[in-house]
């Protein structure tokens, strides 16, 4: 018996390899930092980079694996593989960006260890199969991200931002946990699938089911910075070192969506489809649609008047969470595909946009609009790639953001949610205005920049690495889409 258990454990550990690689990298970075003197830690950043690349490769090879490991506690399937790939990618880009930034002390191991731990949390969330693991994984992701937020060297607002993020985060985790406990109370289960079945047969206490859903979704809305829990994000992003802000605008969002999708999709799968025809549960799509409409409108309107580009992008990322929620509220296959696609594109275009700010602030410029003046002419690579990211965020073809938006709107149109579609469309027009402000500063206002602005090789490379997928996903999105479709096959 014990033999069989060990055998299973060994097999499970092999499937758990990506997470283990990240874990080992964390320890390794820690040890290296202890052993090597500060002046010799010039190449410290390559360790987390190699570790994450390794985890990424292993994941890519094991994309098709479908199994449940560690006594059914972790669900490994294409769905989780997709989100784990996203986690690794965002980690890789964040490490590169942190290395290039002067806002973060590159010779210290802490930023990298924190990033790796966030990634580890993000790796576990999409495969988590029961409530306890979900909660623990979320905390594993959140705690280091509070830390990362306050890691800006010699910046007081950064510490304030960290504290703010921590306070809001702790409260929202508490709310979510309360939701979990109610769910456990009425169903007596912590396994997601078991809960789904139990909810289905729940005759009385339906209202409690809804209550728990609302509480849990509140926690999720905090993670993805949706209305009414978005207050932390502009302050946290602005105070945080720019690479961290870029990372946080993607990581927790992707993780939050992965959990929501798994949670909701489990409930609407074939055998429990009737749940959504229930009077109370049937309101959920409208509830999400409402949150989505308000979120994107607030995000876009608030972004209009920002002088600080970092704050503008913080509000815009609130708006993008709103767009993605459209796909969730439509609750159809295309909507979920749309969220997958959107997250993938968003990863590149948003990190690219944050990278552009990071390059400015690293050179001692402020993160406001005027810093961008004439830079497009001084450094065409910077100008063109940033324009690609911004126009992709607006959703202009032939860029990836456009395809994402088309898919998102398609899902709502298919469900005939006209009001939501109209609000989404108008929001896109509004968003063009403020994104174009940056483009205007870069190219339209002045012809030559007085200041010298040259990018390092690695900096240009990072921008191009982000820009290529944005363009590619806008034109040849057929092949990558097959990849995404497989991620949904498990349902």
């Amino acid at each position: 018996m014990s033999n069989l258990f060990t055998l299973n454990l060994l097999k499970d550990l092999r499937i758990f390899a990506p997470e283990l690689i990240v874990l080992i990298t964390i320890l390794f970075t820690l040890i290296i930092e202890l052993l090597v003197k500060r002046d010799d830690r010039k190449y410290l950043w390559t360790i987390p980079l190699i570790g994450l690349l390794g985890a990424f490769t292993v994941l890519l090879y094991g994309y098709e694996i479908k199994t449940k490991i560690f006594s059914f506690n972790l669900y490994i399937d294409t769905f989780s593989s997709f989100f784990r790939l996203i986690a690794c990618l965002s980690g890789i880009l964040a490490v590169l960006l942190s290395h290039l930034s002067s806002e973060i002390d590159d010779r210290d191991g802490e930023p990298y260890i924190a990033i790796l731990t966030v990634v580890l949390g993000m790796l576990i969330i999409p495969s988590a199969g029961n409530l306890l693991i979900i909660y623990l994984a979320f905390e594993m992701m959140s705690l280091p991200s509070y830390l990362l937020t306050s890691m800006h060297i010699r910046s007081y607002p950064s510490k304030e931002a960290g504290i703010k993020y921590l306070l809001f985060g702790a409260v929202s985790s508490g709310i979510m946990l309360y939701g979990f406990s109610i769910l456990y109370g009425i169903t007596g289960q912590i396994d997601i699938n078991a809960i789904k079945v139990a909810l289905h047969y729940l005759e009385t206490k339906r209202a409690f089911g809804i209550l728990s859903f609302l509480l849990i979704s509140a926690g999720m809305f905090f993670k993805i910075a949706a209305f009414p829990f978005y207050f932390w994000s502009p302050d946290a992003y602005q105070g945080a070192p720019t690479p961290v802000a870029g990372f946080l605008s993607i990581g927790p969002k992707a993780a939050g969506f992965s959990f929501m999708i798994r949670f909701i999709l489990s409930a609407i799968s074939e055998e429990t489809g009737e749940l959504w025809r229930d009077e109370l549960w049937g309101q959920i799509p409208q509830y999400i649609a409402f949150i989505s409409a308000v979120t994107m409108t607030i995000g876009n309107l608030a972004a209009l008047n920002q002088r600080s580009v970092k704050r503008m992008l913080a509000y815009s990322s609130i708006a993008h969470a709103g767009y993605m929620l459209i796909g969730l509220s439509a609750m159809n296959k295309i909507g979920i595909h749309a969220i997958f696609f959107y997250i993938l594109v968003y990863l590149f275009m948003n990190l690219g946009a944050f990278a552009s700010i990071s390059y400015l602030t690293s050179r001692g410029m402020k993160d406001d609009l005027d810093s961008y003046k004439g830079i497009g002419w001084a450094s065409p690579v910077f100008g063109v790639t940033t324009t690609i990211f911004l126009f992709s965020l607006v959703g202009i073809p032939p860029l990836g953001g456009f395809v994402g938006k088309v898919l998102i709107f398609s899902s709502a149109i298919k469900e005939k949610m006209w009001v939501l579609v109209i609000i989404g469309v108008l929001n896109s027009v509004v968003s063009l205005y403020y994104y174009a402000l940056i483009v205007k500063k870069m190219f339209l206002e002045s012809f030559s920049s007085e200041k010298e602005f040259k990018l390092l090789f690695l900096e240009s490379l990072l921008l191009i690495i982000c820009a290529i997928p944005v363009v590619f996903l806008g034109i040849f999105w057929g092949k990558p889409f097959i990849f995404l479709e497989r991620a949904l096959n498990m349902f």
Partner: protein, 494 residues
């Protein structure tokens, strides 16, 4: 070789400018002439292909020719589907011709020339794609690809208020195109199997409920009306035109505006016959308002470029009135007006550019007696102005008279009222000639050189077309006749 060109003609014509745009980026920025000639070369090939297309186009076929069809995104039934018919062939010809000429009109652009020519070539690809795409999704992509180069071309190389004009243009058009996007997706989901294939969508037209047809007709109409522009969506146009550099104004008025009327004929008419009939009367009203409003506003202008811009609004009204009549002559007149106005307005904007380059202002009242000083230039101005007025023997006359013939049968009162436009147009154009070219020569301009060879080169081909089509229109009418007749048949047959 011949076979390859025959099978991929439309792909080549569309993407050769894009190839040029990329190549231009690799030329060192101080080699101005290399940049210019490379751009000229990459617009000249599409021009040759366009002429080849015009000659080899089978005039007896109403449907699509030279079709290129490949799957693009198979999961969503999105295809790379290009085709040309009688409606688009003249537009394509106009696009390749004006693009080629405008490269020469852009010779004077020196700051950021590399970016300018590259964006210009990208714009040409976008415009050609719009006229050739037969897949709605593809059409939308091209429609938007034509948008952002324009934003930069106006915003970087434009006049003093260029930033305002550029963003206004961008916001307006994006708003319109998003209406189109939603319509496209609704149609996509309405049909099973889901498809973006335009001819297929047209085939399924009887399955669209009447209510839906009306709503979608309006949504598409807003998208296209902003582009035309139809009153009251026209406010972006004077700003964009006044601020844009000369060649960009030419492209804007010569081709981009036509994308609006082209869209109405390509999508609104055949897709939603019920909607079209329901709104035909409304469309005719809008046409008449555009004609008279544009002409009256043009009369009040002192800035010559603004005058031409408002005259464009007025002339695009003819297209709408002709199309709304559903009569053979009216619709053909409307479609021909798209082509004719493209040539005439291009001449007008080039003319404005010539005088602006010399005098550095465009204030009509500050000139006088230029005819003595610049005789050749004045002759060409007279030709273009007379064509715009609709003088018999020039191409403007043919399309305008056809529009009126069609209109008088369908909307007698409105057409009679609209004929007053001809008088107003004559008034403001003659008055302009009077103020600028006749009378005593303004002493300040006694050393103004006459039109030079390069400028002449951009104007003469257009002048030849203006006269040729005015005297002998059958080649251009016959080429679009069959297609237009089939569109009328669909639109009236329900």
């Amino acid at each position: 070789m011949e076979e390859f060109i025959g099978a991929n003609l439309l792909t080549l014509i569309t993407f050769i400018p894009l190839l040029g745009a990329v190549i231009v980026l690799f030329i060192p920025r101080d080699k101005l002439n290399a940049i210019r000639w490379t751009s000229a070369f990459f617009t000249f090939i599409p021009l040759l292909l366009g002429i080849y297309l015009f000659i080899n186009f089978d005039r007896n076929v109403p449907g699509l020719q030279f079709v290129v069809r490949k799957p693009w995104i198979p999961q969503f039934n999105v295809e790379y589907y290009m085709g040309i018919d009688g409606l688009s062939v003249l537009m394509v010809l106009l696009t390749v011709l004006l693009s080629f000429l405008c490269i020469f009109a852009s010779w004077g652009i020196e700051k950021g020339a590399k970016a300018y020519f590259s964006l210009f070539l990208l714009l040409e690809t976008g415009m050609l794609g719009v006229f050739l795409a037969m897949d709605f999704f593809l059409f939308y992509v091209f429609w938007e690809v034509g948008l952002f180069p324009m934003y930069f071309l106006i915003g970087i190389w434009g006049g003093p208020r260029r930033e305002y004009a550029a963003i206004k243009f961008f916001l307006y058009t994006l708003l319109g195109s998003l209406f189109m996007l939603v319509t496209m997706l609704i149609l996509y989901f309405h049909n099973t199997p889901h498809t973006f294939d335009i001819p297929k969508l047209i085939e399924m037209r009887s399955s669209y409920p009447v209510e839906l047809q009306r709503i979608l007709w309006l949504a598409l109409y807003i998208a296209f009306a902003i582009k035309v522009p139809v009153f009251p969506f026209h406010t972006w146009l004077p700003d964009a035109h006044v601020e844009a550099p000369t060649p960009i104004s030419v492209i804007l008025a010569g081709i981009l505006l036509k994308m609006g009327t082209y869209g109405i004929l390509r999508f609104n008419f055949p897709l939603f016959p019920h909607g079209t009939q329901y709104f035909a009367s409304f469309l005719a009203y809008m046409g008449v308002i555009n004609m008279i409003y544009g002409a009256l506003t043009a009369m009040a202008q002192r800035d010559m470029k603004k005058l031409v811009a408002y005259s464009s609004i007025s002339h695009m009204g003819y297209c709408l009135l002709g199309m709304a009549s559903f009569k053979e002559s009216g619709v053909i007149g409307g479609a021909l007006q798209m082509f004719n106005h493209g040539t005439i307005t291009a001449m007008l904007f080039l003319i404005v550019g010539v005088i602006y380059d010399r005098a550095h202002h465009r204030d009509i009242d500050r000139f006088g007696g230029l005819a003595v000083q610049m005789p050749v230039y004045s002759g060409i101005v007279a030709l273009a102005f007379f064509a715009a007025m609709g003088l018999p023997g020039l191409n403007g006359f043919i399309s305008e008279i056809l529009v009126f013939i069609g209109g008088i049968k369908a909307f007698p009162i409105r057409t009679i009222v609209s004929v007053s436009t001809v008088v107003i147009t004559a008034a403001y154009l003659l008055w302009t000639i009077h103020r600028m070219f006749l009378g005593k020569l303004n002493e300040k301009y006694k050393d103004l050189p006459d039109i030079n060879g390069r400028e002449l080169f951009t104007l003469v081909p257009l002048g030849i077309i203006v006269i040729f089509v005015g005297i002998y229109p059958p080649p251009v009418i016959n080429i679009m006749r069959e297609t237009l007749l089939s569109i009328i048949k669909i639109a009236t047959g329900g």
